[in-house]
Point group: C2
Chain length 259, copies 2
DNA sequence: GCGGGTGGTTTCATATAATGAAACAAAATC
DNA sequence: GATTTTGTTTCATTATATGAAACCACCCGC
């Protein structure tokens, strides 16, 4: 049923271990990792050693725990600069953020999930959870729905099945059906709303970024606290948002196909 | 002379390839990587395949190029949350940034280099190069010198040799000797200055963050454009800076040794 | 449309590295 | 001080990575 990962080689297994460590969200001891690892002690031990040598993990002598290494941050920074939309989109979303005076987020779709690659002007009052590298569900966020609405049908099928439909708030979609109906509407409107579906008190308006060939390459949202703007209030930003999304799409396309 | 990497196993080699791709700073074709890779075609090919499978790399069909994958950003976000000083330091440096109204940076030392793990309030006028995950030289930055001045002698020896002493500006230190003399002064003052040594027009004042055991765990700097504050002008922030650094150190220590 | 170069992919016997059971060591815990 | 838990090392076996070479496909000039 699931992807037949058929873990490609030693490297794949090592990265699996890395993910395992990451998934704890805190420093872990050897035995923690061992507990839910398919590998025998010795094998896992050597993986952890290797990863630590490579600075992908960091070992704390004092506590005997492993945590993620800083090499990852270096690599991710490089990834951000070269492989994400962020560098291209920065000037545009910066202008947008200044114009509307609200927080602006830039996200890409990754394996059915939303990955935030940039955020600007989060007012300090309400710190949304979004930060660069942070992932969020697609089915209950503005950027997520904006992207889902415009992906190719095949991908949409897959993506819909990857959603958990966990009920974050009262407004959260509980099924693919209900989500699908909204996606239809989004395709008509051109923008998506998050009406406190992921986080109580936060809503947003979002637009997809499309390449010239029509492929979804990301999304931009303007997010606000409900006590400042409700969904209808955010509607006033629609034109500016769409214009920004178009500009980013244009520029991204011309970068990818230089002539 | 250099580190005897003695590449640990297949995983090490694969990560080496990953670094190679990262080092280009742009999407690369197979033959680009092959050109300066010690590995034969077939081997390199399989590495790239594996890494792409694993989403550590991304392959663009259109252009036939590899770039860093999105999985790295997810991992790095997790690393940032669990392994860096940033989450602990955030509230403190946020308060400092608000108080002084200038950009505040948080950095850690990584293999003789400065790694920025957080930055706040970069005014949009002068965008310093610093961003999360970005690395910079230690010998010519405020945070770098603040940390070097307080590391253990052994580590300092190693670190001093890892510096390039590239002359970024007229004020850049050109040798370990001249740097060492300044470090002596920094140990007395408790704070370090960057007087346009890395970037023309930017200077900063920085303080190390020390654990209770006296180990350097990071540094904080306040950076400004020279036309707003010269080094003497930044001196007014010394007390606030030192206080913040102390608070962060205290809190970090108590997290690491909970009782 | 034809030759030939460049850039990328696959094959396969061989060498190398990963594997994991089990023994071992070192702390914690009783 | 005995016992359990947790972490580390050994070593014969097995699986995996390796890389030379063959192969394929596409582009480019003619």
């Amino acid at each position: 049923m699931n992807k037949v990962v058929q873990s490609d080689g030693t490297v794949g297994k090592a990265l699996e271990v890395l993910d395992a460590v990451a998934s704890y969200g805190r420093p872990v001891r050897f035995s923690d990792v061992l507990a839910d690892s398919p590998y025998p002690k010795a094998t896992l031990y050597r993986f952890l050693q290797t990863l630590t040598n490579q600075k992908m993990l960091e070992y704390d002598d004092q506590t005997g725990t492993y945590s993620l290494g800083i090499r990852l941050m270096r690599l991710a920074h490089a990834a951000w600069r070269t492989a994400s939309l962020a560098p291209i989109a920065r000037p545009h979303i910066e202008a947008l953020a200044t114009q509307v005076g609200e927080a602006v987020h830039l996200a890409q779709l990754d394996d059915g999930q939303v990955l935030f690659v940039d955020k600007l002007r989060a007012t300090d009052r309400f710190e949304t959870l979004a930060q660069v590298g942070k992932v969020a569900p697609a089915y209950c966020t503005g950027v997520g729905k904006a992207m889902l609405a415009f992906v190719a049908p095949k991908r949409l099928q897959i993506a819909l099945q990857q959603q958990s439909y966990f009920q974050y708030t009262k407004a959260t979609h509980g099924s693919a059906d209900s989500l699908n109906r909204e996606l239809d509407q989004i395709r008509i409107d051109g923008v998506a709303f998050d009406r406190e579906e992921h986080e109580q008190g936060i809503n947003s308006i979002a637009a997809p970024i499309l390449s010239h060939s029509g492929r979804v390459i990301g999304a931009i949202s303007i997010a606000s606290a409900t006590n400042r703007f409700d969904a209808d209030g955010l509607l006033q930003f629609k034109d500016a948002l769409l214009e920004t999304a178009r500009n980013v799409g244009d520029e991204a396309t011309s970068w990818q196909f230089p002539s």
